[in-house]
């Protein structure tokens, strides 16, 4: 289980630049596995190592039990959908799709039948004789997928396949990709810098930063339980708090946050000892904001603050609440919004509360990751597509 395609301690440098640093991943057969990370973090390099265009300095790639680390690209049962598609410009759609089968030496009638099937799969039978250069972005994308899939690879590598498409088309192609995956049942290794894409299509996500895997797990795991500040800030949005653990209460702990009057109680699943200075991540939608003080509860934390900014976004509202030095982002979806008498307004003093299970103590914190967060001063609002529909 879980070891159809394995990267074992892959490291790779280009000259002085260390692009991959001891990357280990294990990918289950038939799943969609995403590698998610900001651009320049080494995603393409990892894919190229898997496809055979680059060789790692250290580590091994194992596919279906065989070490393929030093096999030539044309000897691997792996095909790639390239970042810019790389369709052969002098060939038609049909010629592009049949290329792999021609190389494999199938006879003409067999090729032609297969190509027809795949043209149908990508719904482009009527475009078969168009030159590759005459296609729209979405069409090129589909041809690139068919051209790779027709070879029945053990793993299909997709390098930011939707990055070049506009938003609407991207969403449609995402659904289509998922559908194609269900249809062919081939393992997909999907690389993207777009968290929404990764979240919605993947069975499993590895979050990558600066050549290292920061965390891996299901989309729900990486979103709901980020282990470090990078993952917490890169996927979705969050609030960070600097804290010190003052006491341990069973599997929970109490901690002090500067400017918070009372201590807060937090689920301590990693058993940090008393006295640890740790960082806490709380996602904006985990807060509840209200005028009145909520009913107190042993595992509910509460703090008072002043509303500094309100951004109405339709599906929800973003409040920026000032508590001492902190500006806390709170997202609230609406319930009987227009009927509610106590609409929260700018300058109101409010209570924000959250449950002890709804926040995470981070293993690792890096101040630089704060730059990934949305700030109230960015007048660009949080785009609706950043709202995550976790899982599939």
């Amino acid at each position: 289980m879980g070891d159809f395609l394995v990267f074992e301690g892959i490291s790779k440098s280009f000259g002085e630049l260390k692009v991959l640093d001891n990357v280990s991943l294990s990918i289950e057969k038939g799943t969609i596995f995403s590698i998610l990370g900001p651009s320049g973090c080494g995603k393409t390099t990892l894919l190229r190592i898997c496809a055979g265009f680059e060789y790692p300095d250290r580590g091994r790639v194992i596919l279906d039990g065989k070490d393929i680390t030093s096999d030539r690209p044309n000897r691997r049962r792996v095909n790639t959908v390239f970042q810019n598609y790389s369709l052969f410009p002098h060939m038609t759609v049909r010629e592009n799709i049949s290329f792999g089968l021609q190389m494999a030496g199938f006879d003409r009638s067999r090729i032609s039948g297969e190509v027809d099937r795949y043209l149908e799969l990508i719904q482009m039978s009527d475009q078969a004789d168009k030159k590759a250069t005459k296609l729209s972005g979405g069409q090129m994308q589909r041809v690139a997928i068919a051209r790779a899939l027709i070879n029945k690879p053990q793993v299909l590598l997709l390098d930011e396949p939707l990055a070049a498409l506009d938003l609407k088309l991207r969403q449609r192609m995402l659904v289509e990709l998922d559908w194609i995956h269900d249809e062919v049942g081939i393992t997909f290794l999907y690389v993207t810098h777009d968290q929404g894409e990764a979240m919605s299509i993947s069975d499993h996500i590895a979050v990558m930063n600066k050549g290292r895997i920061e965390q891996q797990g299901t989309p729900v795991q990486v979103y709901e339980a980020p282990t470090n500040s990078f993952v917490a800030a890169f996927i979705g949005d969050t609030n960070f708090f600097e804290t010190e653990i003052t006491s341990i209460e069973d599997s929970y702990c109490r901690m002090n946050i500067k400017d918070f009057a009372d201590g807060v109680i937090v689920y301590n699943d990693k058993n940090f000892p008393q006295g640890s200075r740790v960082y806490l991540s709380i996602r904006p939608e985990k807060f509840v904001i209200s005028h009145a003080e909520p009913e107190s509860h042993r595992k509910r934390n509460m703090v008072r603050g002043v509303v500094e900014e309100i951004i109405y976004m339709g599906t929800h509202t973003v409040f920026w609440v000032r508590v001492g030095d902190y500006r806390i982002q709170v997202r609230q979806s609406h319930d009987r919004f227009l009927l509610d008498e106590k609409i929260i307004e700018h300058g109101n003093t409010v209570c924000i509360s959250w449950h002890a299970d709804n926040c995470y103590i981070l293993d690792r914190y890096d101040e630089r990751d704060e730059s990934l967060l949305t700030l109230p001063d960015d007048d660009v609002t949080v785009a609706p597509e950043n709202i995550i529909s976790a899982g599939k």
Binding site: F53, V78, T80, F82, H90, G100, M103, I111
Partner: protein
């Protein structure tokens, strides 16, 4: 400032080029064709009567051999220039910038030396007492009697030497624009190195190759300095005969007949390539090979 009017008909825009072509190419060609139908006069000028007599000059069996040699040498020159030029263009395009600039400079540098001097240099190099001959003698490939100069092979060597930059440059220009990730794509789809090169790289630089063929083959057909200097009687080409008719025999109509033959030899491959292009654009719907 007014923006140039995009309504100016294409014809008007191409007029300068057309004018250039008409004045410097078409009119001289027609003049040559006309002279081919005039009688000669005893002082080397052009007579005042029309005749087709001049064309009987072609019956002279000497020309058949020379014409065949001219075409064979030109085709071989072009072929060798391509065989060497395509890998050279590939390497240049893939080399990193600093190295590439240096290599390009190496290709250009010989142009700073006069063409004639470079050809004469070959004469020195290949001279019976020259360095190459002595070396080959030393390792026992040739004997004392072998002549390196004054043979068709020598003409071929020097022609390839002279024309290869003209092949490399357009091929390099095309290869530089070629998207090399397409070769990765080809490998990814199971093509080995040779097939990726043949099925993806060559079609990708097709325009550069066609240009290279034209700029090597046409001047090669008309070569006259090279065979004149290193060819000797056994390496004569049609260009030498034209020169001989013009300057030594002083019979312009005969020279014109030979020139017309050369024009014909140039026009045939050009029209053929135009025709092939036309057929390509008419559209094909079948998978090739």
């Amino acid at each position: 400032m007014k923006r140039p009017n995009s309504k100016i008909p294409e014809l008007a825009l191409s007029l300068p080029t057309m004018g250039w072509l008409v004045v410097l190419f078409i009119i001289p060609t027609i003049v040559i064709l006309l002279i081919a139908f005039r009688t000669g006069d005893p002082y080397g000028g052009i007579g005042d009567q029309w005749t087709v007599e001049n064309f009987s000059e072609l019956a002279n069996p000497v020309y058949r051999g020379i014409m065949v040699r001219t075409v064979v040498l030109s085709v071989l020159t072009t072929a060798i220039c391509l065989v060497l030029g395509v890998p050279a263009g590939y390497c240049l395009a893939r080399a990193e910038k600093k190295k590439r600039d240096f290599l390009l400079l190496l290709i250009i540098v010989p142009f700073w030396i006069n063409f004639l001097i470079r050809i004469f240099a070959w004469k020195v190099v290949l001279h019976p007492e020259g360095i190459v001959k002595n070396f080959l003698l030393l390792i026992g490939i040739v004997n004392d009697q072998t002549l390196l100069l004054y043979r068709p092979g020598t003409v071929l060597l020097v022609m390839v030497y002279s024309y290869i930059p003209f092949a490399v440059l357009p091929i390099y220009a095309a290869a530089e624009k070629f998207d090399f990730s397409l070769l990765d794509a080809a490998h990814d789809l199971g093509a080995n190195w040779y097939r990726a090169f043949y099925r993806v790289f060559l079609p990708g630089i097709r325009q550069g190759i066609l240009t290279a063929i034209l700029v090597v083959f046409i001047p090669a057909l008309g070569s006259y300095v090279i065979p004149d200097i290193v060819g000797g009687p056994g390496g004569e080409m049609i260009g030498n005969k034209i020169a001989q008719k013009t300057f030594i025999d002083r019979h312009l109509p005969h020279a014109s007949v030979l020139s017309s033959l050369l024009v014909l030899a140039v026009m045939i491959p050009m029209t053929a390539s135009l025709f092939m292009k036309r057929r390509k654009t008419v559209g094909r719907g079948i998978i090739p090979g």
